[in-house]
Subunit: 187 residues, 2 copies
Amino acid sequence: MSLKFYLAGPEVFLPNAREMLDAKAALTREFGFEPICPGDITIEPAPSRHQFGLNISAVDEGMMNRADGIIANLTPFRGIAADVGTAFELGFICAQGKKVAAYTNVTASHFERTRAFYNGKVVEGADGRKRGPDGVSLEDFDMIDNLMLHGGIERRGGFIATHDAAADELYTDLTAFRRCLEFFAGQ
Amino acid sequence: MSLKFYLAGPEVFLPNAREMLDAKAALTREFGFEPICPGDITIEPAPSRHQFGLNISAVDEGMMNRADGIIANLTPFRGIAADVGTAFELGFICAQGKKVAAYTNVTASHFERTRAFYNGKVVEGADGRKRGPDGVSLEDFDMIDNLMLHGGIERRGGFIATHDAAADELYTDLTAFRRCLEFFAGQ
């Protein structure tokens, strides 16, 4: 039985979502694994938009429950941090004790991105914590995102790939995704 | 034995983090529950910032493993979405089948906030999906955040409180947090 990986990430929102999910699925199969992609199952029409959203949540959780692990695309999405849906899914799979890997197509660290959010106006206080002009502190742990995400992966012996994708290939460049597959193939 | 709730949220980053965590812990005890707060345990010094971050991740996961449920503050943080660390923790607790509640001090829905991110320039395509000028689609499911978060709570019979806090009390107003406690107290 080949290992099944849940392919989490904001690709489902892209204009070419189907194409990207198919490309990731094909690459996953090339490495001998079975891809499980959110968006692969057609969700039945529901009486309300809200119920439709709940039905997608149910389908995606079911997919995670069937998976042996996750490859999460943590490339910052609509802001400086990973897509929160993907973060939820990473936590879900971590709690289940399954295999975890993640990648980001932005090499700037979580700290560097948050500092840029504050236009560089970050100072270190007497307590040793770095803070923005609003007094809110920044994590500075050489991590790709919030420590629960990065730590949850690294502490489990998971894999994290970073790659500096071109701006117009931020969500389509699969270099780092492939490295996650290589990691699992080498285990 | 009183139920133990993990109090997740971006409060740990606030200038008055200790004060806020103490206030939330005190309120939790008033309702007869035991609060478990990230930041409550002093993390031992580590040989590197990175290791220090990993150690915090380990402590926080240990706290979640001891908890009977979570109350997650999903108020948008440094952008239009919830703190990704909190999203990870919510997914973690959902996977464990524990009690879940969340609140946000912003009443604008996930869709409304994402539309504002695009300065209102959102159009509905032939496929029925609403998209920004970048072609990236928006969820429009009457939810407080990404459907995995909102759906993960609602589908489990959890509770979601929304409250329109004053701008200068966005992370300190505990009205909606209290409503989560009232929900659990009424169960």
